[in-house]
Structure formats: structure tokens, C-alpha cells
Subunit: 435 residues, 2 copies
């Protein structure tokens, strides 16, 4: 499909947001400051609240509720409906944006299409629950090998279920964001019983994606079966799980890394790509050489072919992006559907807006590793950048950029980016500590 098929002009070979994508976000403008739901198309944003106000969602499911769903500061109301509603919205938006269909006259176009350069993106979802999984076998193997050696790289439970842990959803922020280096307690390298309180010396990114769950919540005590989990998957975004490695190491035994290592901030990209847009990129997910528990068996065991990247702009790079990582979502072993099924298997109610972070997505080679902990081998082997700078972890002033793209035949589905800058920790005086 070429650009002339859309009322918004773009270059199909390079545009992140062609008519095949139609990712959802929440935006405002200087002239209309109420956050509302929009869809990215080329270099424009389609204002769904404005469309709804004009009665342009006229299908059987949306005609009476489109304003209620889209004139909202979050996607939760829309997510809370059901796949049939999502499908009707997507079909209607495609129809409205198709050139030659004449569904949107020029005057209306001027009212409902906003320049992306003029918008402010908002956190698109009010997230009731956020789980960080650990579902890339390659990543878990890399980390396990560094910590326990290759023989015992994967713990026995890793191959039995998609393990993960809850993190504070209050830490989620839409990118771009500033990341203030946190203060943490760290352990001494020589005395595991000695702790000191200091700015985190090993601040790290984690290259992840985040899957949003929609649909009506399951009732307390009634799990989701895996086919039901598939129906509840709404869309996908980029996810940078900023991590405080030294604080994490000192605090995570035995209850996990969440409160110190992981909950200070994490960032997501502003646009959520519907799974419907990713269907052409579905591939069979990795099959573990071990029989699965009945609830995790899946006739539709798929993941998506999405290229993922991390680049860094350093104080020494003169604004130039230096490549750090090139990975792919197909390194995800436990799928979004299996993650959700496991999460709900106890009967836990899963509310719309729940975010399933994949965990770091790594390939086997160093240049495919999804975090500095892996790349620098626990900080022992610094990465030498083209500028001559060295990085074990992320330095103050560094900007970390993540991107994702699914490459189609003559078009691509982009995920936008996260782009966060690291700032120095608060001074000791904040804590009343003398320097």
C-alpha cells in the first residue's frame, strides 16, 4: 500500500506510523489542553475525541459510546471494552483515513488532524498493576551464567512458568523523561554484611516491551484460560525498565528487586501499537524442550518479529547516537499470552490497563544484549564507545534511546521511541549528610 492510499502523505519505506499501524496514545495541544485519545498517522495525530464529537464513529458498537471512550485522559475506558469494539474502531479509523473514500472532507480533516510536532504526549494508561517478567531465555541464560555459571544458568522454575514480579505502577512515566540517579544502600564487595548509602553507582537500562491488557476484568477467583488471555491482549509499547543495580543487589534477597532496584522510574513510549497491526509479523515462539503445565499450553504460541534497538548519546558524542544494542522481540520465549495466563492462574483479577513487561530482551551476542549488566558482564568488562568513552553502566548526562520496528513488505510498523536523560543524584546535603 503506497502513501497515496492515506489522506495523510508519508513515505512508506520510512514512516513509523503508516495506515497499517494506527497506534493509540493520549495527547493535548496548546490550544486544546484536555488530554484525549489520538492515533498517530504519518506526522499527524488523529483526534478521536473530535471524531467522536462529530458522530463519525457510526458503527453498531461505537455509535453511542465513542465520546465516552475517547474524550478521556487515558485509554482505560476504550481498553476495558472488548476486541470487537477495538476491531470496529480500527476498521472505521482505517476507512476515515483512506484516500479517495471521501469519508473525511477537507474541512473536517483540518479539525481532526493535528501536527505531531504540536502535541504533548501524556501517560496513555492508568496502570492498575504492572508486572516485570523475565521471559527471554537468552537474557535469563546470559545473566544466570554470569552469576551461577553456565551449568546452572536457568533455575528449575524458569522452564516451568513465566516468572515475574510486581513493580510499583506509580513509577511508570511516558518518555521523554529525566532519570534522577537514585540514592541506595549498596553492599561492600569484600564484606557482605557491610552496607553504605550513596548515589547508585550502577544505573542501567533494560530493553523491554510492554503488553497492555484490555477487556472486562475476570472475576476474583476465576482464572483466564489461555484462549481468553489471547482475547485480552490490546497492544504493545517500548519499555525501558530503568534499574539500580547496586541497590538491587543489596536489597533483593529473598523478596525480589522491586522496591529499591526497580520502582524509582520506568518509561514507556507514547504510542501503543495494537496487536491487530502486528498480525503480519507473528512467528512461532520458541518451544522449550520440556512439557508445559496444562494451562500454559497454547495452540497459538506466537511472538512478533520486531527489531529493537538501544542507542546512547553521551557527553562526548556531540549529539550523535552511538549504537549499543540490536535485539528482537522473537528472543521472548514465554509469550504475552502465557504471561497473562500464569498471572491470572490463581484467580487474581486482571483489570484493564494492566501492563505486562517482557523482561529484558536479549540475543546471545554482546551487541544483542538488552542491558549494561549483561554487556559489561556485571561491570567487569566496560564497553568502549566509538568516542573512546567507556561505560560499565549509564553515566550522568547520557541519553538512552530505545526504538522498535516491524519491517513489512513496503511499509514498517514503528513504535516510536523512549528517550530519557540521566541526571546527577541529589547532593548529600539533601539527607543532612556532610560531604
Amino acid at each position: 500500500m503506497a502513501s497515496h492510499d492515506c489522506i495523510v502523505a508519508y513515505e512508506p519505506a520510512t514512516c513509523e506510523f503508516p495506515i497499517q499501524n494506527l497506534p493509540y496514545g493520549v495527547f493535548s495541544t496548546a490550544s486544546a489542553t484536555s488530554p484525549r485519545v489520538g492515533v498517530a498517522i504519518g506526522d499527524k495525530v488523529l483526534d478521536l475525541a473530535a471524531l467522536a464529537a462529530k458522530g463519525l464513529f457510526n458503527g453498531p458498537l461505537l455509535a453511542d459510546c465513542a465520546t465516552d471512550l475517547f474524550n478521556q485522559p487515558s485509554l482505560n475506558a476504550f481498553m476495558a471494552t472488548k476486541p470487537e469494539v477495538w476491531a470496529e474502531a480500527r476498521a472505521r479509523i482505517t476507512e476515515l483515513l483512506t484516500a479517495g473514500a471521501g469519508a473525511l472532507d477537507e474541512a473536517t480533516q483540518a479539525e481532526v488532524l493535528v501536527d505531531m510536532a504540536d502535541i504533548t504526549s501524556h501517560m496513555p494508561v492508568n496502570v492498575p498493576e504492572y508486572i516485570d517478567f523475565y521471559s527471554s531465555r537468552t537474557h535469563a541464560t546470559n545473566v544466570g551464567t554470569l552469576i551461577r555459571g553456565a551449568e546452572n544458568a536457568l533455575q528449575p522454575n524458569w522452564t516451568a512458568m513465566p516468572i515475574g514480579y510486581h513493580v510499583a505502577s506509580t513509577s511508570l512515566t511516558v518518555s521523554p523523561a529525566k532519570i534522577v540517579r537514585p540514592w541506595v544502600q549498596t553492599t561492600s564487595p569484600t564484606d557482605p554484611t557491610a552496607f553504605s548509602f550513596k548515589p547508585e553507582p550502577a544505573l542501567d537500562f533494560e530493553l523491554e516491551m510492554g503488553a497492555f491488557v484490555g477487556g472486562p476484568a475476570n472475576a476474583q477467583g476465576v482464572p483466564l484460560r489461555i484462549n481468553e488471555a489471547h482475547e485480552r491482549l490490546f497492544g504493545l509499547c517500548l519499555f525501558n525498565d530503568w534499574s539500580a543495580r547496586a541497590g538491587q543487589k543489596a536489597s533483593y534477597v529473598p523478596l525480589g528487586p522491586s522496591i529499591i532496584g526497580k520502582s524509582f522510574i520506568s518509561t514507556i513510549s507514547p504510542w501503543i501499537v495494537p496487536f491487530a497491526a502486528l498480525e503480519p509479523f507473528a512467528v512461532a515462539a520458541e518451544v522449550l524442550d520440556k512439557p508445559l503445565a496444562p494451562h500454559l499450553r497454547d495452540d497459538n504460541h506466537i511472538v512478533y518479529n520486531v527489531d529493537l534497538s538501544v542507542d546512547i548519546i553521551t557527553p562526548g558524542s556531540n549529539g550523535e547516537e552511538l549504537p549499543i544494542t540490536r535485539s528482537n522481540l522473537t528472543y521472548l520465549t514465554w509469550t504475552h499470552a502465557q504471561q497473562l495466563t500464569n498471572l491470572a492462574s490463581t484467580g487474581a483479577p486482571i483489570l484493564p490497563g494492566t501492563l505486562l513487561a517482557t523482561g529484558t530482551i536479549s540475543g546471545p551476542n554482546r551487541e544483542q544484549n538488552g542491558c549494561m549488566l549483561e554487556i559489561s558482564k556485571l561491570g567487569k568488562d566496560p564497553l568502549v564507545l566509538p568516542t573512546g568513552e567507556e561505560r560499565k553502566y549509564i553515566a550522568d548526562g547520557d541519553v538512552v534511546v530505545m526504538r522498535g520496528v516491524a519491517r513489512g513488505d513496503g511499509y514498517q510498523i514503528g513504535f516510536g521511541e523512549t528517550r530519557d536523560v540521566v541526571e546527577a543524584a541529589l547532593p548529600p546535603s539533601f539527607w543532612g549528610i556532610e560531604e
Copy 2:
């Protein structure tokens, strides 16, 4: 102070909700079905939304906003204000309830006081973030001794910081609740690599309390100092952290117990006792024999003397409550203020409504242990009940009742109760498993 000092008659020696208590909850009635904020007093509930509508909150901070704060389905708006507002509300409610003050005429009393027997209690808080701490040294020592032996009972980090982990706040439910035994994957006792999927064989309670955080959120990147943490502590409730022990054991390495072991359901008591009501019961908290990190040092290192109990009604007890545990909140070593300070120390924003669960609160002796895992020594030493029934963990049909009370001079501050019944797991056919 005798009962005649309050416009609602009660027996001071036994009443849980005397005029010194004034706990907050959210309730509705058959004739007024909108959930709203109320205060328990004797066997009545004072309807704060009705008081506000009559203009009876006339102080400088509340006169213009009381309706906005109390005509709400949760306490969040009120919690989000500040201690001065909480103090003004408490002082005015005390004044209105004081006999002889004449602040509430008989006709008004009839309108704003509802029989507690006629109310439905609702989940009183929309919890943005919930953390389960592990802050009772006695409990951590008991469990550590069972798992690692007395020599290594406490991990080194336990004495350096209040450790904890996030759990799904979507799992929080107001008691009474039914607890459906979850399905989980368990490990084989003989082969740690073999897992099976089955109804949880070791369902447990955990005797905890929950501290709610109020006040305006700290900005992202700006931690709370411990004196600021004190100002943000709103009130305290009973907390039963229902736990799936076998699922927890199989899933918790290395990321913690949250998604399988802990997030299926937890229950809180309907009434939140303000910390202001607990001031007479403040006692010095335990001091660890190790210097603390600067941010955790506290000139006001207090905990509260609250008797805590767990009783059980079994299928064989003919409705009679059988005592299981008698503990006390003074077994909490890391205080609520230290928990909150540690949680926010990385600059994580803490929103009003955040719930800090203490972790299991145990005394050293078996009859003081706060969960069956401790009482039954990991399931190896069943508790024999007076009925002759044995319990390693909780059985289908059991009702678990938790209570808390601070005993004052001629009065008591009660916390009400949690009272939850355990129901059988879903049948294998739910999962398509043949029996």
C-alpha cells in the same frame, strides 16, 4: 471517659469504636446506595457526607471542601490532603459526637447516624501501590531458622533496611471475603526440577497490619526524609495476607513471591484507625544492634501497642472460634515511618492511598506465631485443635478471623476484624484436565 460523654451510648470497657477511636471507612445502605465516607462510633456509623451536606464541617480548612472530600466512594481525596485537615476533621467529629455539646440536635442525629447493622462496607481506599514488608524480626528469625538454621536466620540485608516487595493492589479486598483456593504449580519434594499443577495444598494466612499513606505525593526524584514520612502516615487497619505456600515456594526464586504466592487475594478490615487515635499507645520500637543508614535514623522511633489475634472456625468447631495466635504490633521492628522512608528513598513517588503491609507479625512462641507456616514448622508439625482436628495449613470451609485492639485506661481502640472463609478450588474440568 464514660459512655455518657458521647451522644451514642456504648459500654467503654468493651466497645471497639469509642469516641477516642473514630476510624474511617466507606459504606452504603439499602436506602442510600452511593458509597461514602463514614466514621464508626459505638454501634453506629456517622455519615460524613451527610454532615458535609449540612455544612457541619465549618472549620477553616474543611468548610469549602468537606463535601468533595467525603461524598466519595473512597478515602483517597481526604487522605490526599494533609495532617492539618485530618486533625481538623477529627476535632470537629469529636465535638459533634460529644454529649452535652449540643452540636448535633436530635433530628440531625437521626439523619447522620446509621445503624452499623444496616451498612455494607466497601473497600475504603483505591490503592495505587501496595508493598508487603518483612519487618518483624521475630517472624523473620522464625522463618529463617526453619529454612536456613538459627546461625543464618537473618540475611545480612535484613538488619540494614526494611525489605519488602510489591504485590498487586488489585488483589486487595475488604473483609469479609471468600478465599477460593488457587491452582498453582508446585515442586516435587524429591525432584526440584519436577513441577505439577494442582490446587494449592498449603493455603495460609499471614497476620499483618496495613498502614495507609496520605498527603500530597512527593515529586518523582525527590525522596521523603523520615520526618516527612511521619507526617504522611494516615491510619492503620488489619491485614490478612492470604498466601499460597507451595506455589510461592515453586515460583519465588529469584524475583520474589508476588505473582503466584501473594497476589490472588488479600483482605483488610473495613475501618482505618487514624494514627492520631493510637498516640496514647506509642512505645519505643526495637533498636537493632547495628548502626542505621542515615536516612533510616529516627528521633521518633515508635510502634504501637496493639494486641493482635487469629482465631479459626472449623467445620468441626460448631461455629466456635478456636484461638490460633496471640501477637502484638510491638513485634514490628522496622516501623511504618522507616518502611515509607526506605520505599521513597530512591525518589519513587508515593501516592496517597499507598498501603504498607507490615509483613507477618510474630512473637517468639508458637502461640504467638502469625502464620501456619511458622506454627506448623513448614508443615512438619501440625497444630492439634481442641476439636481434635489437625491443621498444617488452612482447610476448605475454615473461617479465619483476625482482630486487633489497643487497650487504654477505661476504653479500648478496636480495629474491627477480618473474617474470611476458604472455599474449595475450581474443579480440574475448568482447565480441561481429566480427573
